[in-house]
Symmetry: C2
Subunit: 443 residues, 2 copies
């Protein structure tokens, strides 16, 4: 079972920063991140996972002012990942970076650089920017449509792979005696000319230690699944039930096979928001402590943001309307929340509070045995290859998971007690990709 | 006197990587960079300085194959700077980043992030991309003209400052009791709409600890000087003689004053390529050892690249033509080399060998006393506020400078023996900029 530690600065719960033990300035506190990363590494997590947004998210600033984790005050992930690479030795380092407003040469180079700095531990969670708050920072009046963004993302990933393949693995001879630094026969240009990009290459850094950084995908829409099946090696997804997890798992594995890849070439990690106690009552109490810290306007604002529609004109204790329009936002997340509300008969208030907790991810509250039971059920029944752990608050929520849940996972033989390899690919059991031979000789 | 340690992977000499004591894989060896950075910090350097290029430089691949340091195999600087921030505590961290092929929101955010990670030690050397080898990686058939690039760079820096000013310094309250994370009255949007960029803001990270990262400029053309005088706080420049250094120094200080700034608001650091020995003979011997390692084609290729014109059709032992055309490359560097050749009557071969050593920078070979005499002369006579030290090879060239030259500088009272402050601005004696009030209230 693969485990990611998904690090939101103060934790994933909307009110996490108000928890007495939370580090309220976590987003710009490097010592905090270093300590959390080292704790996750000591517990043998496969990877750290960082989200991203190139802009403050949300239109309701009075709600944002009461909600720390919406990208108003945190490190930029690739620079943070560089720093975390220097204070860890084995754990994988995955950062999210959008393809929508940057050129592929820049991102391919950065992730290759992190892979070299870390000795083969980098992963890139490729996303598209589903948020006009980002678009406005890059000269757009609105963000490009969903399909257009995915088309660009597909070309972007293709270019990135081509750039990582600029050099054969053994191109750099560095022969002091003969004075030959690299082998002229082992460098290639890409000469890419596509709809979105023109990129000659070569990339000015050797092939990453892992061949490519581990490619992660986090969109669960149809376009997201198609991109994942074509290229991704890890899929991060939000699933609320065994059935929906199985549907997603089987669909993505089947699509992956249809792309001529082995189903083992892709690892599916649903998010899980675990609230663990020594007893179920203690876990419930911990959760209620956090829920009671949510400011009324915050949950509604987050829900409006997630659904991409205004809700404040509707009765807070009434139901979610049946006919939510599909917007140009994060399509799969929207669908998941509407289904959750209708399945459990939640009022807008109840849905808002739920979203403010786990943000639409799978929320499990209980003892270590309860939580491992649920994880095991998905893991053994084609629902998950592992999980991206979303601690409610940091560092306490991760510490509790490490102290209580990890030992139970190990006891049942579901999780490692020691790293066997040195790279993120080693941890995940993913093969190192060969160079693709579609290049032009540079000379 | 301010001192920078300008870290080219294996050192600045074209054949540095072939030196018996050089770390040939330095460009992708993080342990190497960490050790060099820590040595520079122990010696109380003001800053580390990293160059950059978003593409392999040079058209002559057979020469590149014999020349390691032309950006074919090295870390991307902002990710490297993040990593170096984690293994150092006091030294300033300056990386070069071009404004030509990226959006300002991305770069402003990265440098703010590095400033936060490092506790106020970041600096940004703003350049334009004077090289078509970069243009080809970003969808261009040729790079934009010199003036156009500087116009974009000027708007870029203005936007970056505006983004760093998105939040007042005390905007983040993080009051767990009241649940107010930030003060709504202290966040601003930029709403910039210019010729090159449209950027709403706010930046999604608090104001950098230093207000702005230290702003460095490295172009010495007329446009470069104008940009420096308007905005830069450190100027890195190539100067060969006391007279040219004085001309540059006085001109930039006067232009800075003409912009309503104090001449003390800008620090001028010429590059110096020091080859130090315990005797002059030992220094000469060290230099010849490096010169003898230069492959014949390498020096010519570097010279062609620097001048932006082909030279291989001319007699290698003949003079440089009088009428070198001004190209769309790095204008000031071109001028400097032509003047050097004509002043000293150098043949193309001699100029090529000189450029392969110090790349057009000021080359000083001698004992510690000789080198400090020359540095002191510039420092005391309006030629320099300090120097960017360009070690011939690493780590040995920097180690020798630290062992021999630094003590002589300290003995003469020219250089510190301990850091007095914690930020790069502290080290350089630069004031922390106030927020500029040109923003729109976000709410």
């Amino acid at each position: 079972m693969a485990l990611g530690a998904f690090l939101y600065p103060t934790g994933h719960h909307a009110a996490a920063w108000r928890h007495p033990d939370a580090q309220a300035d976590a987003g710009i506190n490097f010592k905090h991140y270093a300590a959390v990363a080292q704790a996750a590494e000591a517990a043998k997590f496969d990877l750290l996972f960082l989200a991203d947004s190139a802009g403050a998210r949300g239109k309701d600033w009075s709600a944002l002012a009461r909600f720390s984790t919406h990208y108003v005050a945190q490190f930029e992930p690739t620079t943070l990942l560089g720093a975390l690479a220097a204070v860890t030795e084995r754990i994988g380092l995955v950062a999210t970076a959008s393809t929508t407003y940057i050129e592929p040469y820049h991102l391919a180079r950065k992730f290759a650089s992190i892979d070299h700095i870390s000795g083969g531990r980098a992963g890139w969670n490729l996303v598209t920017s589903g948020n006009e708050d980002e678009a406005f920072n890059f000269g757009y009046d609105q963000h490009p449509p969903h399909d257009e963004r995915y088309e660009r993302a597909t070309e972007f990933m293709d270019v990135a792979k081509g750039l990582w393949d600029s050099w054969e693995d053994d191109a750099f001879l560095r022969d002091k005696e003969t004075g030959v630094f690299f082998d002229l026969d082992k460098v290639y240009t890409l000469n890419h000319r596509g709809r979105h990009f023109g990129v000659r290459g070569p990339l000015n850094i050797p092939r990453p230690p892992q061949g490519y950084p581990v490619l992660v995908q986090a969109g669960s829409s149809d376009a997201g699944r198609a991109l994942a099946a074509a290229s991704a090696e890890v899929v991060f997804t939000a699933q609320q039930t065994l059935e929906s997890a199985q549907e997603f798992y089987r669909d993505v594995k089947a699509r992956t096979a249809a792309n001529g890849r082995s189903p083992d070439d892709i690892r599916i990690l649903p998010g899980i928001f675990p609230v663990v106690g020594r007893t179920e009552a203690e876990a419930r109490e911990k959760f209620e402590e956090l829920q009671n810290l949510i400011h009324p306007s915050v949950g509604l604002s987050i829900l409006e943001h997630r659904l991409g529609i205004p809700l404040s004109h509707l009765p807070f204790d009434g139901p979610l309307p049946q006919d939510i329009p599909i917007t140009n936002a994060a399509v799969s997340r929207q669908k998941l929340l509407v289904e959750l509300a209708h399945r459990e008969g939640l009022s807008i208030r109840q849905l808002a509070l739920r979203v403010a907790g786990a943000r639409g991810h799978w929320q499990v509250i209980g003892t270590a045995a309860d939580i491992v039971d649920r994880m095991e059920e998905l893991f053994l029944n084609e629902g998950a290859d592992g999980f991206n752990i979303m601690p409610p608050f940091l560092p306490g929520g991760l510490d509790a998971f490490i102290e209580l849940v990890i030992p139970e996972l190990c006891r049942r033989g579901l999780f490692r007690t020691e790293y066997e390899g040195t790279t993120l690919r080693d941890h995940l059991g993913l093969k190192r990709p060969e160079r693709a031979h579609r290049h032009h000789k540079a000379v």
